[in-house]
Subunit: 185 residues, 2 copies
Amino acid sequence: MKKTKAERKEELEDTIEANPFITDEALAERFDVSVQTIRLDRSELRIPEVRTRIKQLAETNHDDVRALQNEEVIGEIVDLQLDEQAISILDITDDDVFTRNGIARGHHLFAQANSLAVAIIDDAFAVTGRANIRFTRQVYVGERVVAKAKVKKRSPGFPVITVDSYVNQTLVFKGEFVMSRGKEA
Amino acid sequence: MKKTKAERKEELEDTIEANPFITDEALAERFDVSVQTIRLDRSELRIPEVRTRIKQLAETNHDDVRALQNEEVIGEIVDLQLDEQAISILDITDDDVFTRNGIARGHHLFAQANSLAVAIIDDAFAVTGRANIRFTRQVYVGERVVAKAKVKKRSPGFPVITVDSYVNQTLVFKGEFVMSRGKEA
């Protein structure tokens, strides 16, 4: 049975709060309504569109990257709490995919995750030592990849960072990065 | 005791044959002579300079990449035997390093190795499934990275490729890639 409008709006609000990066298109698919309906719901709920939500997050909600110049991060950082967690988004463009089939090349997802793992370190110097990664679903041109990094093990020498990357809540990449920090070995 | 000129020339010839990508600067350091001396030795031995050697290898000695358009390989392929082994070189430029310390960013070494692992597959479709990588020595701007890929396990579904990358014979990156081929999963 289709949800009532009130039910849908409540769930919509929860969904966007849990995942501010979700697009109207993905919401429309999830709630089985038109994009137009989602826009109307959002406007009634006074929830801005995804681009604006991301901008707001990017402007307000993060510490300063220490180990990297900001422009060295692949993707756009929208949340950063040093030595805790970080989130970045990367929109896959024509330049990032195999010409033959439109599938995103692995090293772009790796670069997003790896630079986020460097950015999260609260130190002026941090590089990657080891990584164990898995590509769990192919990513296509036009998709938006949300990478979520967490510090799994704090360590003065070799912190461990996990990064899970999603397209519309589907896991597409999973990585564990053992970093090296605090010295130029 | 310093080697005689004849001894040095013989060893020089062996060294270049074993590692055609070695620069005159690295040879000079290894043999503890000037770059000028190395150039003279090479000219007497009729061994062309490194750029020419690489070009010759690139022109003559490889199969055609199947899973990638040629320009999609990060680095320059100088040897490719499909489902066997492959070699590529990547010169680290200012664009590839952290501005703060001139250290190459991990994802460039990863991209070189990963695209070589894709290129080696004798199939029209191949992507990376999993990878286990290690950065063993930092790489600096101006250095040349030689990546050597080998097919460790042949498999119709999930071949395993190992890639070892070197700067002047020093291992800087090591990776094992489990690929997925032959279907657009």
